[in-house]
Protein backbone atom coordinates (compact mmCIF):
# COMPACT_ATOMS: atom_id res chain seq x y z
CA UNK A 1 0.00 0.00 0.00
CA UNK A 2 1.42 3.37 -0.92
CA UNK A 3 0.79 5.28 2.24
CA UNK A 4 -0.61 8.72 1.68
CA UNK A 5 1.44 11.37 3.35
CA UNK A 6 -0.79 13.30 5.74
CA UNK A 7 1.03 16.50 4.87
CA UNK A 8 -0.06 16.25 1.25
CA UNK A 9 -3.52 14.79 1.58
CA UNK A 10 -6.16 16.77 3.41
CA UNK A 11 -6.87 16.30 7.08
CA UNK A 12 -10.13 14.58 6.24
CA UNK A 13 -8.49 11.96 4.04
CA UNK A 14 -5.84 11.40 6.67
CA UNK A 15 -8.46 10.75 9.33
CA UNK A 16 -10.37 8.46 7.03
CA UNK A 17 -7.28 6.38 6.29
CA UNK A 18 -6.72 6.07 10.04
CA UNK A 19 -10.25 4.87 10.68
CA UNK A 20 -9.94 1.92 8.29
CA UNK A 21 -9.43 -1.39 10.07
CA UNK A 22 -6.02 -2.96 9.60
CA UNK A 23 -5.36 -6.68 9.26
CA UNK A 24 -3.35 -6.75 12.46
CA UNK A 25 -6.19 -5.21 14.47
CA UNK A 26 -8.61 -7.90 13.33
CA UNK A 27 -6.03 -10.57 14.19
CA UNK A 28 -5.56 -8.96 17.60
CA UNK A 29 -9.24 -8.94 18.49
CA UNK A 30 -9.75 -12.49 17.21
CA UNK A 31 -6.85 -13.60 19.40
CA UNK A 32 -8.59 -12.20 22.50
CA UNK A 33 -11.03 -15.09 22.06
CA UNK A 34 -8.20 -17.64 22.35
CA UNK A 35 -8.31 -17.94 26.17
CA UNK A 36 -11.73 -19.63 25.92
CA UNK A 37 -10.17 -22.44 23.91
CA UNK A 38 -6.48 -22.53 24.84
CA UNK A 39 -6.37 -21.63 28.54
CA UNK A 40 -9.86 -22.17 29.97
CA UNK A 41 -8.35 -22.37 33.47
CA UNK A 42 -7.10 -18.81 33.26
CA UNK A 43 -10.32 -17.02 32.36
CA UNK A 44 -10.37 -15.14 35.66
CA UNK A 45 -6.92 -13.75 34.87
CA UNK A 46 -8.07 -12.99 31.33
CA UNK A 47 -10.98 -10.93 32.60
CA UNK A 48 -8.64 -9.07 34.96
CA UNK A 49 -6.45 -8.29 31.95
CA UNK A 50 -9.44 -6.97 30.00
CA UNK A 51 -10.45 -4.73 32.92
CA UNK A 52 -6.91 -3.44 33.38
CA UNK A 53 -6.67 -2.85 29.65
CA UNK A 54 -9.84 -0.74 29.77
CA UNK A 55 -8.43 1.25 32.67
CA UNK A 56 -5.17 1.77 30.78
CA UNK A 57 -7.12 2.84 27.70
CA UNK A 58 -8.94 5.47 29.75
CA UNK A 59 -5.61 6.83 31.01
CA UNK A 60 -4.25 6.76 27.46
CA UNK A 61 -7.00 9.14 26.35
CA UNK A 62 -5.83 11.87 28.71
CA UNK A 63 -2.13 11.05 29.04
CA UNK A 64 -1.22 9.70 25.63
CA UNK A 65 -3.44 11.93 23.55
CA UNK A 66 -4.02 15.12 25.52
CA UNK A 67 -0.74 15.05 27.46
CA UNK A 68 -2.33 15.39 30.92
CA UNK A 69 -0.14 13.60 33.45
CA UNK A 70 -2.15 11.97 36.22
CA UNK A 71 -0.78 10.22 39.28
CA UNK A 72 -4.24 9.66 40.70
CA UNK A 73 -6.35 8.05 38.02
CA UNK A 74 -7.30 5.25 40.40
CA UNK A 75 -9.67 7.78 41.99
CA UNK A 76 -12.16 7.30 39.15
CA UNK A 77 -11.55 3.56 38.90
CA UNK A 78 -12.23 3.24 42.61
CA UNK A 79 -15.21 5.59 42.52
CA UNK A 80 -16.81 3.47 39.81
CA UNK A 81 -15.97 0.29 41.70
CA UNK A 82 -17.55 1.52 44.93
CA UNK A 83 -20.59 2.91 43.11
CA UNK A 84 -21.23 -0.43 41.44
CA UNK A 85 -20.68 -2.23 44.73
CA UNK A 86 -23.04 0.04 46.67
CA UNK A 87 -25.74 -0.14 44.01
CA UNK A 88 -25.58 -3.93 44.03
CA UNK A 89 -25.41 -4.14 47.80
CA UNK A 90 -28.54 -2.04 48.25
CA UNK A 91 -30.73 -4.31 46.21
CA UNK A 92 -30.13 -3.56 42.54
CA UNK A 93 -27.82 -6.29 41.22
CA UNK A 94 -28.53 -5.87 37.53
CA UNK A 95 -25.05 -5.64 35.94
CA UNK A 96 -25.60 -3.51 32.83
CA UNK A 97 -27.52 -0.71 34.49
CA UNK A 98 -25.07 -0.86 37.39
CA UNK A 99 -22.26 -0.37 34.88
CA UNK A 100 -24.07 2.61 33.37
CA UNK A 101 -24.75 4.21 36.75
CA UNK A 102 -21.09 3.78 37.80
CA UNK A 103 -19.84 5.21 34.53
CA UNK A 104 -22.11 8.24 34.86
CA UNK A 105 -21.13 8.74 38.50
CA UNK A 106 -17.41 8.58 37.75
CA UNK A 107 -17.94 10.80 34.72
CA UNK A 108 -19.67 13.42 36.86
CA UNK A 109 -16.83 13.35 39.35
CA UNK A 110 -14.39 13.66 36.46
CA UNK A 111 -16.37 16.57 35.03
CA UNK A 112 -16.17 18.45 38.33
CA UNK A 113 -12.47 17.60 38.62
CA UNK A 114 -11.77 18.68 35.05
CA UNK A 115 -12.39 22.33 35.90
CA UNK A 116 -9.42 22.12 38.24
CA UNK A 117 -7.30 19.89 36.01
CA UNK A 118 -7.58 22.08 32.94
CA UNK A 119 -6.11 25.06 34.78
CA UNK A 120 -2.80 23.48 35.76
CA UNK A 121 0.24 21.90 34.21
CA UNK A 122 3.60 20.47 35.28
CA UNK A 123 4.36 19.87 38.95
CA UNK A 124 1.17 21.49 40.27
CA UNK A 125 -0.90 19.18 38.07
CA UNK A 126 1.02 16.09 39.19
CA UNK A 127 0.58 17.08 42.82
CA UNK A 128 -3.12 17.89 42.47
CA UNK A 129 -3.95 14.58 40.79
CA UNK A 130 -1.84 12.72 43.36
CA UNK A 131 -3.50 14.59 46.22
CA UNK A 132 -6.98 14.04 44.83
CA UNK A 133 -6.37 10.29 44.57
CA UNK A 134 -5.11 10.13 48.16
CA UNK A 135 -8.01 12.31 49.31
CA UNK A 136 -10.55 9.89 47.93
CA UNK A 137 -8.69 6.94 49.45
CA UNK A 138 -8.75 8.58 52.87
CA UNK A 139 -12.41 9.43 52.43
CA UNK A 140 -13.30 5.82 51.61
CA UNK A 141 -11.16 4.66 54.51
CA UNK A 142 -12.78 6.91 57.09
CA UNK A 143 -16.36 6.54 55.81
CA UNK A 144 -16.31 2.93 56.93
CA UNK A 145 -20.06 2.91 57.60
CA UNK A 146 -20.66 3.28 53.90
CA UNK A 147 -17.65 1.56 52.33
CA UNK A 148 -16.67 -0.98 54.95
CA UNK A 149 -13.32 0.81 55.36
CA UNK A 150 -10.24 -1.40 55.45
CA UNK A 151 -12.36 -4.57 55.56
CA UNK A 152 -13.78 -3.88 52.12
CA UNK A 153 -17.38 -3.75 50.99
CA UNK A 154 -19.20 -6.93 51.98
CA UNK A 155 -22.38 -8.40 50.56
CA UNK A 156 -22.17 -7.42 46.90
CA UNK A 157 -24.48 -9.79 45.06
CA UNK A 158 -24.87 -9.61 41.29
CA UNK A 159 -27.88 -10.83 39.38
CA UNK A 160 -27.21 -13.02 36.33
CA UNK A 161 -26.41 -11.11 33.16
CA UNK A 162 -29.64 -10.69 31.10
CA UNK A 163 -31.16 -12.93 33.75
CA UNK A 164 -29.41 -15.93 32.17
CA UNK A 165 -25.63 -15.88 32.55
CA UNK A 166 -24.45 -16.26 36.13
CA UNK A 167 -21.02 -14.85 37.11
CA UNK A 168 -19.44 -18.25 37.66
CA UNK A 169 -16.33 -19.28 39.56
CA UNK A 170 -14.37 -20.10 36.40
CA UNK A 171 -14.80 -16.62 34.95
CA UNK A 172 -16.49 -17.64 31.70
CA UNK A 173 -19.21 -14.99 32.00
CA UNK A 174 -16.73 -12.58 33.59
CA UNK A 175 -14.38 -12.76 30.63
CA UNK A 176 -17.14 -12.47 28.02
CA UNK A 177 -18.58 -9.56 29.92
CA UNK A 178 -15.35 -7.61 30.45
CA UNK A 179 -14.13 -8.37 26.94
CA UNK A 180 -17.29 -7.02 25.34
CA UNK A 181 -17.25 -3.92 27.56
CA UNK A 182 -13.61 -3.38 26.63
CA UNK A 183 -14.30 -3.84 22.93
CA UNK A 184 -17.25 -1.45 22.86
CA UNK A 185 -15.40 1.28 24.72
CA UNK A 186 -12.37 0.65 22.54
CA UNK A 187 -14.54 1.35 19.50
CA UNK A 188 -15.70 4.59 21.12
CA UNK A 189 -12.10 5.63 21.86
CA UNK A 190 -10.97 4.70 18.37
CA UNK A 191 -13.69 6.81 16.82
CA UNK A 192 -12.94 9.66 19.19
CA UNK A 193 -9.21 9.67 18.56
CA UNK A 194 -9.61 9.63 14.80
CA UNK A 195 -12.04 12.54 14.81
CA UNK A 196 -11.18 16.23 14.47
CA UNK A 197 -11.62 16.40 18.24
CA UNK A 198 -8.91 13.77 18.63
CA UNK A 199 -6.61 15.75 16.37
CA UNK A 200 -7.11 18.89 18.48
CA UNK A 201 -6.20 16.89 21.56
CA UNK A 202 -2.93 15.88 19.98
CA UNK A 203 -2.36 19.50 19.10
CA UNK A 204 -2.87 20.47 22.73
CA UNK A 205 -0.43 17.78 23.79
CA UNK A 206 2.21 19.09 21.43
CA UNK A 207 1.76 22.79 22.07
CA UNK A 208 -1.16 24.18 24.05
CA UNK A 209 -0.12 27.81 23.54
CA UNK A 210 -0.02 27.49 19.79
CA UNK A 211 -3.38 25.73 19.74
CA UNK A 212 -4.90 28.72 21.46
CA UNK A 213 -3.19 31.01 19.00
CA UNK A 214 -4.86 29.27 16.06
CA UNK A 215 -8.24 29.56 17.74
CA UNK A 216 -8.63 26.18 19.44
CA UNK A 217 -9.14 26.96 23.10
CA UNK A 218 -7.63 24.02 25.00
CA UNK A 219 -9.60 24.01 28.25
CA UNK A 220 -13.01 22.90 26.92
CA UNK A 221 -11.26 20.11 25.02
CA UNK A 222 -9.41 19.00 28.12
CA UNK A 223 -12.61 19.10 30.17
CA UNK A 224 -14.39 16.93 27.61
CA UNK A 225 -11.72 14.25 27.29
CA UNK A 226 -11.11 14.19 31.03
CA UNK A 227 -14.78 13.53 31.68
CA UNK A 228 -14.87 10.76 29.10
CA UNK A 229 -11.71 9.22 30.50
CA UNK A 230 -13.05 9.35 34.05
CA UNK A 231 -16.28 7.67 32.99
CA UNK A 232 -14.33 4.91 31.24
CA UNK A 233 -12.14 4.38 34.28
CA UNK A 234 -15.31 4.18 36.37
CA UNK A 235 -16.76 1.55 34.06
CA UNK A 236 -13.52 -0.44 34.37
CA UNK A 237 -13.75 -0.27 38.15
CA UNK A 238 -17.42 -1.26 38.09
CA UNK A 239 -16.61 -4.25 35.87
CA UNK A 240 -14.03 -5.37 38.42
CA UNK A 241 -16.59 -5.10 41.23
CA UNK A 242 -19.25 -6.97 39.32
CA UNK A 243 -17.01 -9.81 38.18
CA UNK A 244 -15.35 -10.33 41.57
CA UNK A 245 -18.34 -9.32 43.76
CA UNK A 246 -16.08 -7.54 46.24
CA UNK A 247 -14.60 -4.05 46.61
CA UNK A 248 -11.54 -3.30 48.73
CA UNK A 249 -9.64 -0.10 49.41
CA UNK A 250 -7.02 -1.40 46.98
CA UNK A 251 -9.07 -0.05 44.07
CA UNK A 252 -8.22 3.49 45.17
CA UNK A 253 -4.64 3.32 46.34
CA UNK A 254 -1.56 4.96 44.90
CA UNK A 255 -0.06 1.67 43.71
CA UNK A 256 -2.99 1.22 41.35
CA UNK A 257 -2.45 4.67 39.86
CA UNK A 258 1.27 4.00 39.53
CA UNK A 259 0.77 0.50 38.09
CA UNK A 260 -1.60 1.70 35.40
CA UNK A 261 0.88 4.40 34.43
CA UNK A 262 3.60 1.77 34.20
CA UNK A 263 1.36 -0.46 32.10
CA UNK A 264 0.54 2.31 29.67
CA UNK A 265 4.12 3.51 29.33
CA UNK A 266 5.37 -0.02 28.94
CA UNK A 267 2.94 -0.74 26.14
CA UNK A 268 3.25 2.67 24.54
CA UNK A 269 1.30 5.82 25.42
CA UNK A 270 -0.49 7.64 22.64
CA UNK A 271 -1.30 4.40 20.84
CA UNK A 272 -4.71 2.80 21.22
CA UNK A 273 -3.26 -0.67 21.63
CA UNK A 274 -0.47 0.45 23.98
CA UNK A 275 -2.48 0.02 27.15
CA UNK A 276 -3.98 -3.25 25.93
CA UNK A 277 -0.62 -4.85 25.16
CA UNK A 278 0.91 -3.39 28.32
CA UNK A 279 -1.91 -4.77 30.47
CA UNK A 280 -1.55 -8.26 29.01
CA UNK A 281 2.22 -8.36 29.52
CA UNK A 282 2.12 -6.84 32.99
CA UNK A 283 -0.71 -8.98 34.36
CA UNK A 284 0.65 -12.23 32.94
CA UNK A 285 4.12 -11.44 34.31
CA UNK A 286 2.67 -10.64 37.72
CA UNK A 287 0.68 -13.84 37.74
CA UNK A 288 3.85 -15.70 36.78
CA UNK A 289 5.83 -14.19 39.65
CA UNK A 290 2.98 -14.19 42.14
CA UNK A 291 4.73 -16.80 44.25
CA UNK A 292 7.47 -14.40 45.32
CA UNK A 293 7.24 -11.65 47.91
CA UNK A 294 5.25 -8.72 46.48
CA UNK A 295 7.97 -6.33 47.59
CA UNK A 296 10.45 -8.06 45.28
CA UNK A 297 7.94 -7.80 42.45
CA UNK A 298 8.77 -4.10 42.21
CA UNK A 299 12.37 -4.85 41.26
CA UNK A 300 11.70 -6.04 37.68
CA UNK A 301 9.02 -3.35 37.29
CA UNK A 302 11.45 -0.63 38.35
CA UNK A 303 14.20 -1.93 36.07
CA UNK A 304 11.69 -2.13 33.22
CA UNK A 305 10.55 1.45 33.80
CA UNK A 306 14.10 2.77 33.81
CA UNK A 307 14.92 0.80 30.67
CA UNK A 308 11.79 1.98 28.85
CA UNK A 309 12.45 5.63 29.66
CA UNK A 310 16.12 5.47 28.72
CA UNK A 311 16.03 3.17 25.70
CA UNK A 312 12.48 2.74 24.45
CA UNK A 313 10.80 6.13 24.75
CA UNK A 314 7.63 5.09 22.92
CA UNK A 315 7.07 1.82 24.73
CA UNK A 316 6.99 -1.66 23.30
CA UNK A 317 4.51 -0.77 20.56
CA UNK A 318 6.56 2.31 19.64
CA UNK A 319 9.66 0.14 19.28
CA UNK A 320 7.78 -2.42 17.19
CA UNK A 321 6.28 0.32 15.00
CA UNK A 322 9.75 1.63 14.32
CA UNK A 323 10.85 -1.84 13.17
CA UNK A 324 7.78 -2.36 11.01
CA UNK A 325 7.98 1.07 9.44
CA UNK A 326 11.54 0.52 8.28
CA UNK A 327 11.93 -0.47 4.62
CA UNK A 328 12.56 -4.15 5.31
CA UNK A 329 9.81 -4.19 7.94
CA UNK A 330 7.33 -2.84 5.40
CA UNK A 331 8.26 -5.58 2.92
CA UNK A 332 7.73 -8.33 5.53
CA UNK A 333 4.95 -7.00 7.70
CA UNK A 334 3.32 -4.35 5.52
CA UNK A 335 0.34 -6.64 4.84
CA UNK A 336 -0.34 -6.77 8.56
CA UNK A 337 -0.35 -3.06 9.22
CA UNK A 338 -2.15 -2.26 5.97
CA UNK A 339 -5.91 -2.29 5.55
CA UNK A 340 -7.84 -5.53 5.23
CA UNK A 341 -7.04 -7.40 1.95
CA UNK A 342 -10.53 -7.10 0.49
CA UNK A 343 -10.69 -3.36 1.21
CA UNK A 344 -7.25 -2.62 -0.17
CA UNK A 345 -8.35 -0.95 -3.39
CA UNK A 346 -11.18 1.04 -1.98
Amino acid sequence: MASVSPAIAGAHEHLESQVRWRTLEVVFWLSTLLPFVVTPNYLVLASQIAITALFALSLDLILGYAGIVSLGHAAFFGFGAYTAGLVAKHGWGEPLSGLLISGIAAGLLGYLMSFIISRFRHLALIMITLGFGLLLLELANSASGLTGGADGLQGVKMWPLFGIFRFDLYGVTAYWYSLIVLFLLFLVSRRLINSPFGLSLRGIRENAVRMRAIGAESRPHIRKIYTISAAMAGVAGATLTQTTETVSLGVLNFERSADILVILILGGAGRLYGGLIGAAIYMIARDWFSGINPQYWYFPIGVLLIAVVLFLPNGILGGLAQLVNSERGQRWFGWLTGPLPWRRNS
Binding site: V69, M127, I128, E138, Q295, G302, I306
Partner: protein
Protein backbone atom coordinates in the same frame (compact mmCIF):
# COMPACT_ATOMS: atom_id res chain seq x y z
CA UNK B 1 -5.40 21.81 77.61
CA UNK B 2 -2.70 24.43 77.11
CA UNK B 3 0.08 21.95 77.81
CA UNK B 4 -1.29 19.47 75.32
CA UNK B 5 -1.44 22.18 72.66
CA UNK B 6 2.16 23.14 73.40
CA UNK B 7 3.19 19.50 73.37
CA UNK B 8 1.61 18.94 69.98
CA UNK B 9 3.24 22.13 68.70
CA UNK B 10 6.62 20.94 69.93
CA UNK B 11 6.28 17.47 68.41
CA UNK B 12 4.99 18.96 65.19
CA UNK B 13 7.90 21.37 65.09
CA UNK B 14 10.38 18.51 65.47
CA UNK B 15 8.57 16.53 62.80
CA UNK B 16 8.58 19.57 60.54
CA UNK B 17 12.35 19.88 60.99
CA UNK B 18 12.69 16.31 59.81
CA UNK B 19 10.53 17.02 56.77
CA UNK B 20 12.59 20.10 56.04
CA UNK B 21 15.87 18.16 56.03
CA UNK B 22 14.31 15.53 53.78
CA UNK B 23 12.87 17.98 51.28
CA UNK B 24 15.12 21.02 51.04
CA UNK B 25 17.48 19.34 48.58
CA UNK B 26 14.62 18.43 46.27
CA UNK B 27 13.27 21.96 46.38
CA UNK B 28 16.57 23.49 45.30
CA UNK B 29 17.33 20.94 42.57
CA UNK B 30 13.78 21.19 41.22
CA UNK B 31 14.11 24.95 41.14
CA UNK B 32 17.42 24.77 39.28
CA UNK B 33 16.86 22.11 36.67
CA UNK B 34 13.11 21.51 36.79
CA UNK B 35 14.00 17.88 37.28
CA UNK B 36 11.15 16.03 39.00
CA UNK B 37 13.13 13.65 41.18
CA UNK B 38 10.67 11.30 42.84
CA UNK B 39 13.62 9.20 44.03
CA UNK B 40 14.69 11.87 46.49
CA UNK B 41 13.44 9.90 49.49
CA UNK B 42 15.43 6.92 48.30
CA UNK B 43 18.52 8.86 49.34
CA UNK B 44 16.90 9.43 52.72
CA UNK B 45 16.35 5.70 52.99
CA UNK B 46 19.97 5.02 52.05
CA UNK B 47 21.09 7.33 54.85
CA UNK B 48 18.84 5.51 57.29
CA UNK B 49 20.15 2.09 56.35
CA UNK B 50 23.77 3.27 56.52
CA UNK B 51 23.20 4.42 60.09
CA UNK B 52 21.44 1.19 61.03
CA UNK B 53 24.17 -0.96 59.52
CA UNK B 54 27.03 1.00 61.07
CA UNK B 55 25.41 0.99 64.50
CA UNK B 56 24.13 -2.57 64.66
CA UNK B 57 26.83 -4.45 62.76
CA UNK B 58 29.89 -2.31 63.35
CA UNK B 59 29.11 -0.87 66.76
CA UNK B 60 29.59 2.78 65.77
CA UNK B 61 28.13 5.44 68.05
CA UNK B 62 24.97 7.11 66.73
CA UNK B 63 26.45 10.57 66.23
CA UNK B 64 29.43 9.22 64.29
CA UNK B 65 27.16 7.50 61.81
CA UNK B 66 25.40 10.75 60.82
CA UNK B 67 28.26 12.13 58.68
CA UNK B 68 28.56 8.73 57.04
CA UNK B 69 24.84 8.75 56.22
CA UNK B 70 25.32 12.16 54.61
CA UNK B 71 28.38 11.08 52.61
CA UNK B 72 26.93 7.76 51.45
CA UNK B 73 23.69 9.34 50.23
CA UNK B 74 25.58 12.14 48.49
CA UNK B 75 28.00 9.75 46.73
CA UNK B 76 25.26 7.42 45.51
CA UNK B 77 23.19 10.35 44.30
CA UNK B 78 26.12 11.66 42.25
CA UNK B 79 26.47 8.24 40.69
CA UNK B 80 22.78 8.26 39.70
CA UNK B 81 22.96 11.84 38.48
CA UNK B 82 25.97 11.22 36.26
CA UNK B 83 24.71 7.97 34.76
CA UNK B 84 20.95 8.51 34.43
CA UNK B 85 19.37 11.75 35.54
CA UNK B 86 21.47 14.10 33.43
CA UNK B 87 20.22 12.46 30.27
CA UNK B 88 16.69 13.56 31.09
CA UNK B 89 17.07 17.24 32.00
CA UNK B 90 15.39 18.23 28.76
CA UNK B 91 12.86 15.41 28.77
CA UNK B 92 9.21 15.78 29.74
CA UNK B 93 7.93 15.75 33.33
CA UNK B 94 6.41 12.38 32.67
CA UNK B 95 9.68 10.74 31.60
CA UNK B 96 11.44 12.18 34.64
CA UNK B 97 8.67 10.93 36.92
CA UNK B 98 8.78 7.47 35.41
CA UNK B 99 12.54 7.04 35.55
CA UNK B 100 12.76 8.17 39.14
CA UNK B 101 9.73 6.19 40.30
CA UNK B 102 11.39 3.19 38.64
CA UNK B 103 14.43 3.88 40.81
CA UNK B 104 12.20 4.06 43.89
CA UNK B 105 10.68 0.66 43.05
CA UNK B 106 14.14 -0.87 42.58
CA UNK B 107 15.43 0.64 45.82
CA UNK B 108 12.39 -0.58 47.78
CA UNK B 109 12.88 -4.11 46.44
CA UNK B 110 16.63 -4.08 47.12
CA UNK B 111 16.10 -2.80 50.67
CA UNK B 112 13.48 -5.49 51.27
CA UNK B 113 15.85 -8.12 49.91
CA UNK B 114 18.86 -7.05 51.99
CA UNK B 115 17.22 -5.97 55.24
CA UNK B 116 13.83 -7.68 55.15
CA UNK B 117 10.54 -5.86 55.47
CA UNK B 118 10.65 -5.40 59.24
CA UNK B 119 11.20 -2.11 61.04
CA UNK B 120 14.87 -1.55 61.78
CA UNK B 121 15.69 -1.07 65.46
CA UNK B 122 18.19 1.54 66.66
CA UNK B 123 19.44 2.00 70.17
CA UNK B 124 19.97 5.70 70.81
CA UNK B 125 22.78 6.67 73.20
CA UNK B 126 21.54 7.32 76.73
CA UNK B 127 22.09 11.10 76.59
CA UNK B 128 19.58 11.35 73.73
CA UNK B 129 16.91 9.27 75.41
CA UNK B 130 14.41 10.26 78.04
CA UNK B 131 12.69 13.59 78.39
CA UNK B 132 12.98 16.97 80.03
CA UNK B 133 10.26 18.56 82.15
CA UNK B 134 9.70 22.26 81.60
CA UNK B 135 6.87 23.37 83.85
CA UNK B 136 3.98 21.04 83.00
CA UNK B 137 5.47 20.18 79.65
CA UNK B 138 7.38 16.98 78.84
CA UNK B 139 9.86 17.43 75.99
CA UNK B 140 11.66 14.49 74.42
CA UNK B 141 15.43 14.98 74.52
CA UNK B 142 15.84 13.47 71.07
CA UNK B 143 13.30 15.90 69.64
CA UNK B 144 15.15 18.84 71.19
CA UNK B 145 18.37 17.51 69.69
CA UNK B 146 16.63 17.15 66.34
CA UNK B 147 15.33 20.72 66.37
CA UNK B 148 18.68 22.22 67.38
CA UNK B 149 20.55 20.10 64.85
CA UNK B 150 18.18 21.00 62.02
CA UNK B 151 18.24 24.68 62.91
CA UNK B 152 22.06 24.66 62.78
CA UNK B 153 21.97 22.93 59.40
CA UNK B 154 19.40 25.44 58.15
CA UNK B 155 21.49 28.38 59.33
CA UNK B 156 24.56 26.92 57.64
CA UNK B 157 22.57 26.39 54.43
CA UNK B 158 21.18 29.89 54.35
CA UNK B 159 24.58 31.37 55.11
CA UNK B 160 26.22 29.29 52.38
CA UNK B 161 23.62 30.36 49.85
CA UNK B 162 23.66 34.03 50.82
CA UNK B 163 27.31 34.72 51.47
CA UNK B 164 29.44 32.42 49.32
CA UNK B 165 30.33 32.65 45.66
CA UNK B 166 28.94 29.17 45.06
CA UNK B 167 25.70 30.14 46.75
CA UNK B 168 25.37 33.14 44.48
CA UNK B 169 25.82 30.88 41.46
CA UNK B 170 23.14 28.52 42.70
CA UNK B 171 20.71 31.38 43.33
CA UNK B 172 21.41 32.75 39.87
CA UNK B 173 20.77 29.35 38.31
CA UNK B 174 17.49 28.96 40.21
CA UNK B 175 16.30 32.41 39.18
CA UNK B 176 17.10 32.05 35.52
CA UNK B 177 19.04 29.09 34.31
CA UNK B 178 19.63 30.34 30.76
CA UNK B 179 20.76 33.76 31.85
CA UNK B 180 23.13 32.21 34.37
CA UNK B 181 24.63 30.08 31.61
CA UNK B 182 24.94 33.16 29.46
CA UNK B 183 26.96 34.87 32.16
CA UNK B 184 29.46 32.03 32.14
CA UNK B 185 28.32 30.20 35.25
CA UNK B 186 28.88 26.47 34.95
CA UNK B 187 25.32 25.51 35.81
CA UNK B 188 25.89 21.79 35.23
CA UNK B 189 28.66 21.46 37.78
CA UNK B 190 26.87 23.76 40.22
CA UNK B 191 23.83 21.57 39.81
CA UNK B 192 25.79 18.36 40.36
CA UNK B 193 27.23 19.71 43.61
CA UNK B 194 23.85 21.01 44.78
CA UNK B 195 22.27 17.70 43.92
CA UNK B 196 24.85 15.82 45.99
CA UNK B 197 24.44 18.21 48.92
CA UNK B 198 20.66 17.99 48.78
CA UNK B 199 20.70 14.20 48.64
CA UNK B 200 23.21 14.15 51.48
CA UNK B 201 20.82 16.23 53.58
CA UNK B 202 18.05 13.80 52.72
CA UNK B 203 20.33 10.98 53.87
CA UNK B 204 20.89 12.84 57.11
CA UNK B 205 17.15 13.31 57.47
CA UNK B 206 16.59 9.62 56.87
CA UNK B 207 19.11 8.71 59.55
CA UNK B 208 17.56 11.12 62.05
CA UNK B 209 14.04 9.94 61.20
CA UNK B 210 14.59 6.34 62.33
CA UNK B 211 13.80 7.02 65.96
CA UNK B 212 10.70 9.10 65.16
CA UNK B 213 8.98 7.30 62.30
CA UNK B 214 10.92 4.06 61.97
CA UNK B 215 12.68 2.66 58.94
CA UNK B 216 11.49 -0.04 56.59
CA UNK B 217 11.66 -0.47 52.81
CA UNK B 218 8.45 1.50 52.26
CA UNK B 219 10.17 4.65 53.57
CA UNK B 220 11.08 5.78 50.05
CA UNK B 221 7.45 5.72 48.94
CA UNK B 222 5.70 6.70 52.16
CA UNK B 223 7.66 9.91 52.65
CA UNK B 224 7.65 10.81 48.98
CA UNK B 225 4.13 12.21 49.28
CA UNK B 226 5.02 14.35 52.29
CA UNK B 227 8.20 15.65 50.68
CA UNK B 228 6.36 16.49 47.47
CA UNK B 229 3.69 18.35 49.42
CA UNK B 230 6.37 20.39 51.20
CA UNK B 231 8.14 21.21 47.96
CA UNK B 232 5.02 22.02 45.97
CA UNK B 233 3.48 24.12 48.70
CA UNK B 234 6.70 25.87 49.66
CA UNK B 235 7.62 26.84 46.14
CA UNK B 236 10.51 25.58 44.08
CA UNK B 237 13.99 26.75 44.94
CA UNK B 238 12.89 28.71 47.99
CA UNK B 239 14.58 27.64 51.23
CA UNK B 240 12.40 29.92 53.34
CA UNK B 241 9.28 28.60 51.63
CA UNK B 242 10.35 25.01 52.12
CA UNK B 243 11.02 25.69 55.78
CA UNK B 244 7.62 27.32 56.29
CA UNK B 245 5.81 24.57 54.40
CA UNK B 246 7.65 21.84 56.33
CA UNK B 247 6.68 23.44 59.64
CA UNK B 248 3.09 23.90 58.50
CA UNK B 249 2.82 20.30 57.39
CA UNK B 250 4.63 18.89 60.41
CA UNK B 251 2.50 20.76 62.92
CA UNK B 252 -0.81 20.26 61.12
CA UNK B 253 -0.07 16.56 60.61
CA UNK B 254 0.66 16.09 64.30
CA UNK B 255 -2.36 18.18 65.31
CA UNK B 256 -4.57 16.34 62.83
CA UNK B 257 -3.48 12.94 64.12
CA UNK B 258 -3.88 14.06 67.71
CA UNK B 259 -7.20 15.89 67.59
CA UNK B 260 -8.94 14.35 64.56
CA UNK B 261 -7.40 10.89 64.24
CA UNK B 262 -10.10 9.70 61.83
CA UNK B 263 -9.71 12.41 59.21
CA UNK B 264 -6.20 13.71 59.91
CA UNK B 265 -4.55 12.76 56.62
CA UNK B 266 -7.70 13.71 54.74
CA UNK B 267 -7.30 17.28 56.00
CA UNK B 268 -3.65 17.38 54.92
CA UNK B 269 -4.48 16.50 51.32
CA UNK B 270 -7.41 18.91 51.28
CA UNK B 271 -5.21 21.76 52.51
CA UNK B 272 -2.53 20.90 49.95
CA UNK B 273 -4.96 20.89 47.03
CA UNK B 274 -6.56 24.15 48.14
CA UNK B 275 -3.18 25.83 48.59
CA UNK B 276 -2.02 24.67 45.18
CA UNK B 277 -5.22 25.86 43.55
CA UNK B 278 -4.80 29.22 45.18
CA UNK B 279 -1.09 29.52 44.33
CA UNK B 280 0.08 26.86 41.85
CA UNK B 281 3.72 27.91 42.28
CA UNK B 282 3.60 27.47 46.06
CA UNK B 283 3.19 29.98 48.89
CA UNK B 284 6.56 31.58 48.30
CA UNK B 285 7.12 30.54 44.71
CA UNK B 286 7.60 33.27 42.17
CA UNK B 287 7.40 31.34 38.93
CA UNK B 288 4.35 29.61 37.56
Amino acid sequence: MMTSVLGVLFDGFAYGMLLFLLSVGLSVTLGMMNFVNLAHCTFGMIGGYVTVTLMNSWGWPFLATLPMAFIAAALISVLFERTMFRRLYRATDLDQCLLTIGLVFVSVAVAAFVYGTIQQPVQLPSYLRGSLRVGDLTLGVYRIFLIVFALVVTAALVAALEFTRFGAQVRAAVDNQRMARGLGINVDSAFAITFALGSGLAGLGGALAIDIVGLDPSFALAFLVYVLIVVAVGGLGSIGGTFAAAMLLGISDMAGKYYFPAIGSFLIYLVMISLLMWRPAGIFGRRT
